[in-house]
């Protein structure tokens, strides 16, 4: 069991700069998820760890060993592919024991290990079937067994659940987390599904356009996004554009495009120098009067409240959707932009409101993230 370290990784597809300088550490036994939209480079990073792509610059270290230029077959990684990649001409047992055969494990032991791992993934009786005879979920379990049976130094998962339906996805992600934790194998997991990432990971690295936006625990990434991109990609949000109109010690006032006024506590010392450098994602930008800012609010952290007096927007109800535990209210703000509020109390009353009626929306300060040029204002 080892830790994986990626240093200043750059990967090109011909002239396209797909991965633009990534630094990452995956601790021993940790599940790290690369989360991002399609085309962001997350699969490319994973494939370079597996050895299918050679980076133009940077190093990949597995433990003390530099594996950047080690052939894929010698890296001792177990990989689970998006489309399972089970060999259709082999039985399930032959699929699972293939890696052991390559490692010259004796026949009896191969069989024993295959049976053990197949029972771990609840496929005891299926050893003699071929992949075509199994369902999608079972095939993915075989793929998991095949990757784990070799006791890999590192487990690599390339969107392994994206071809399955919702129920199975939830079931299998629990199973994958359970098994990898039990075996203590260091894991890199790629997905574009934020809820999957939140559920399965110890650490999430949010990737956008070949760069890391934020690395943190699921809690940190969800509740304390560093960038506008992370805030929008993780969770369901409204985004309002505005301009800083007043800046005092302890107070920021923002006027939205719809003409409403929102105020926030200013934690910055207005007399401090701006130290943020371009491309530096960690340092908070310094605000000035006239700055354009974006405010992001979660659907479920804001309220319809007729009595609210501060940080209030007005909106017209356009649609009400009853979702069982809540009602999703879609509104238009003054400037015509769309705004969504998830209401989870007094559902009957909310459902009784007529379309077209005007309501007050309360945005508590704690429900808002303030961004300037993609960076969080703290």
């Amino acid at each position: 069991m080892v830790e994986l370290k990626i240093e200043d990784l750059h990967i090109f597809y011909d002239d396209f700069h797909a991965v633009r300088g990534i630094n990452l550490t995956v601790n021993d036994g940790e599940i790290l998820t690369l989360l991002g939209p399609s085309g962001c480079g997350k699969t490319t990073i994973l494939r370079s760890i597996a050895g299918f792509i050679t980076p133009r610059k940077g190093r990949i270290l597995l433990g003390e060993k530099d594996i950047t230029h080690v052939p894929a077959r010698l890296r001792d990684s177990g990989m689970i592919f998006q489309n399972y990649a089970l060999w259709p001409h082999m039985t399930i047992e032959e699929n699972v024991t293939y890696g052991l055969k390559m490692r010259k494990v004796p026949k009896e032991e191969r069989h024993r290990k295959a049976m053990a791992i197949l029972s771990q993934v609840q496929l005891e009786g299926q050893a003699d079937k071929t992949p075509g005879q199994l369902s999608g979920g079972q095939q993915q379990r075989v793929a998991l067994a095949r990757a784990l049976v070799i006791e890999p130094t590192i487990l690599l998962c390339d969107e392994p659940l994206s071809n399955l339906d919702f129920q199975l996805r939830v079931e299998l992600r629990t199973e994958i987390r359970h098994l990898t934790k039990k075996l203590g194998v260091t894991t890199v997991y790629v997905t574009h599904d934020q809820s999957e990432a939140l559920a399965i990971s110890d650490t999430i690295a949010v990737i956008n356009a070949g760069l890391i936006e934020q690395v943190g625990t699921p809690l940190e990434v969800f509740n304390d996004p560093d960038t506008l991109f992370v805030a929008n990609f993780v969770g369901e949000n409204n985004q309002i554009e505005g301009q800083v109109t007043k800046l005092e010690k302890g107070l920021v006032e923002v006027k939205t495009e719809g003409g409403d006024t929102l105020t926030y506590t200013n934690l910055q010392d207005p007399f401090m120098e701006d130290t943020a450098e371009e491309g530096d994602r960690k340092s908070a930008p310094k605000l000035a009067v006239g700055d354009k800012v974006s405010i992001v609010t979660r659907y479920d952290k804001i309220f319809l409240d007729e009595k609210a007096t501060e940080n209030v927007l007005t909106g017209t109800i356009r649609n009400l959707a009853y979702m069982g535990t809540m009602v999703q209210v879609v509104l238009n703000l003054n400037d015509g932009s769309k705004f969504t509020v998830n209401v989870s109390e007094n559902l009957n009353k909310v459902m009784g409101m007529g379309l077209g009626s005007t309501v007050k929306i309360h945005l508590p300060e704690s429900a808002c993230f303030l961004f300037k040029d993609n960076l969080r204002v703290r």
Binding site: A50, R73, A85, P88
Partner: protein, 608 residues
């Protein structure tokens, strides 16, 4: 009948097509073949099995342990005093029956070796000039074996250019390939491309992540190839090989060329023997029983092969297992030495496999027996001369092939649509009926036609409808035989197109009130028009170079085609070569258009 009427009312289009096509194929495929089979067992109206004994007791037909002597040898070196050493490589004569099987197997093995190697190089290596090479590799396909033999003889024959101007002056050696060996060489140079195309498309259609998974599990390149790539390409390897086996055994064009240039062993193949001996006399449609038996065996081999492809290969079609394919194949980028080696391989391969092409081009466009070569257009001038030249034959070829192709387009589009979209009892049988002609030996169908429609002292259908009588007017039956024999190419292309077209598109039109025939015209045909044209062009190409039924059915000059004329006058090599070049040009144009239309779906060209 009542049930049929009921079905008919529901879907008049399909229930018109199914009986018509079935009837057409029954009358012009199943019945003639049955007549051949009948003639194999019945002689003078009585069951006669003694001819079977004759075949397996006569050394001419069956000679598993041939004696090695002056005319029967693998390799012979003659060094007379004049300083020219003649090396003859021939292969033993095992009798007509075994020769044919040996030729089939040997051609398949040679083609498989070349095709597999080439496919692997093209699919898994990265080197400069690959795109150009993939085009060049189609060249061997555009020469029918018939023309191939002529071209080969022009360069490597006893007085071929290579011998006269290169081997003899430089090495003092005359190198001659004869008999079985010569036929296998000429066939392999053509057929390896078919296997290459089949395997190449298999290799490219596999899911790249299957190989990556093996590599990830620790397999080196050789192990990946052996344990994953090859087994997954097996359907392509098997279908390509069986197809070549069938085609090599039923090839008539190559043996004719060698036999007519005096090679007695080359003459001893089943097809050539049938062609020479089936005809018993002017006033009978009775056919020589021995030829009917040999034909029946040929048919049997072909049917077994066809069945094997259908059963075994479709069982092993893996492509549907994994959900979608991801990424590109990991190819090996060649270095400098690798580039040199790969260029050497392809240069040699292309040089050798285009020997026939160079042969026909050189011999047709230069003055005979003049060195250095001097251009002459004489042979080409004769091409379009109706009086003394080939004008009549070119005209006939074009009329027959185009008429047949038009029929094919209409019928195959309808048949392909019904076979793919309609569920009905006997569907598999129907599908088999319209695709099996690809495996049916032309000579066997030809003698079946002859027996069924020719003159006879007893009853013959030719007496009733004498436009179908090949002796009175072969052209009608010829067009029908072309239509039947080259039907599969178009029907497969249509089928492939329909498989890629979602049925929902039709359902939504029907939902909006369109009738089935409207849907066919306004939705389906526009969507698969490229496949139809592509398939039709392939059918056309093969029609133009059809040899075997033509030779059996046509007996007079006025109805002859290019290939018929070529078989009649094998002595006039240069003029024949000019005609061969003309055929090749037509084929190249058609294939280029097909390639553009069907893009990478090249397997439609050769697929069963």
């Amino acid at each position: 009948m009542k049930r049929y009427m009921h079905k008919f009312m529901q879907d008049p289009l399909s229930w018109t097509i199914i009986p018509i096509i079935t009837l057409f194929f029954t009358v012009f495929l199943i019945l003639p073949l049955s007549f051949t089979m009948y003639a194999a067992f019945v002689h003078n109206g009585e069951l006669n099995l003694s001819a079977f004994g004759t075949i397996f007791n006569t050394k001419k037909f069956w000679d598993p342990f041939p004696e090695i002597n002056d005319s029967n040898f693998y390799i012979q070196v003659i060094a007379p005093g004049d300083g020219i050493t003649t090396i003859r490589i021939r292969g033993l004569d095992y009798g007509i029956f075994l020769n044919t099987i040996i030729i089939g197997i040997a051609t398949t093995l040679v083609s498989l070796t070349l095709g597999l190697t080439t496919a692997f190089f093209m699919a898994r290596l990265e080197f400069r000039g690959k795109t150009i090479l993939s085009g060049l590799l189609l060249i061997p396909l555009v020469i029918p074996p018939f023309v191939s033999g002529i071209g080969y003889n022009a360069l490597l024959g006893p007085s071929g250019l290579l011998n006269e101007r290169f081997f003899i002056p430089v090495f003092g050696i005359r190198l001659l390939f004869q008999g079985i060996v010569a036929i296998v060489i000429v066939q392999s140079l053509h057929y390896f491309t078919l296997i290459y195309l089949n395997i190449y498309s298999s290799l490219m259609n596999n899911d790249p992540s299957l190989e990556e998974a093996a590599e990830n599990m620790g397999a080196d390149r050789l192990t990946v190839a052996r344990s994953v790539t090859l087994p997954l390409a097996m359907p392509g390897i098997a279908s390509g090989s069986i197809l070549v086996l069938i085609l090599a055994m039923e090839d008539l064009g190559t043996p004719i060329i060698f036999a007519n240039s005096g090679d007695t062993v080359a003459a001893k193949t089943i097809t050539f023997y049938i062609m020479q001996n089936f005809f018993l006399g002017e006033n009978t449609s009775e056919i020589n029983q021995i030829t009917a038996i040999l034909g029946a065996f040929l048919l049997l081999f072909a049917l077994i092969g066809f069945y094997a492809i259908r059963k075994y290969v479709s069982l092993k079609q893996y492509s549907m297992v994994s959900k979608g394919r991801s990424g590109k194949f990991r190819t090996v980028k060649l270095g400098k030495i690798g580039h040199v080696l790969i260029y050497v391989y392809f240069t040699v391969l292309l040089l050798v496999s285009t020997i026939p092409h160079w042969g026909v081009i050189i011999i047709s466009s230069t003055k005979p027996q003049v060195w250095p070569l001097e251009f002459s257009s004489e042979n080409y001038n004769k091409l379009f001369d109706f009086e003394n030249g080939f004008g009549q034959f070119i005209y006939n070829t074009i009329v027959y092939s185009f008429t047949a192709t038009v029929l094919i387009v209409i019928l195959a589009t309808l048949a392909g649509y019904v076979a793919n979209r309609k569920k009905f009892w006997g569907q598999t049988l129907f599908d088999t009926l319209v695709t099996i002609p690809i495996a049916i030996p032309g000579v066997v169908l030809g003698i079946g036609y002859f027996r069924m429609f020719g003159n006879s002292e007893g009853f013959s259908i030719g007496d009733l409808f004498f436009t179908l009588n090949p002796i009175v007017a072969p052209s009608v039956l010829l067009v029908i035989s072309y239509t039947i024999r080259k039907f599969p190419f178009t029907v497969r292309a249509v089928y492939a197109g329909l498989q890629q077209t979602d049925e929902v598109l039709e359902e939504s039109a029907i939902n909006l009130g369109a009738s089935k025939s409207r849907v066919l015209w306004e939705i389906i045909i526009p969507l698969i028009i490229m496949n139809i044209i592509g398939g039709a062009l392939v059918s056309l190409v093969y029609n133009m170079s059809e040899v075997s039924t033509t030779l059996i059915l046509v007996s007079d000059t006025s109805n002859g085609t290019i290939t018929w004329k070529m078989a009649q006058e094998t002595g006039k090599i240069a003029e024949l070569a000019a005609m061969g070049v003309f055929l090749m040009v037509l084929q190249v144009i058609s294939l280029l258009v097909t390639n553009v239309l069907l893009k990478n779906r090249a397997d439609a060209i050769s697929g069963i």
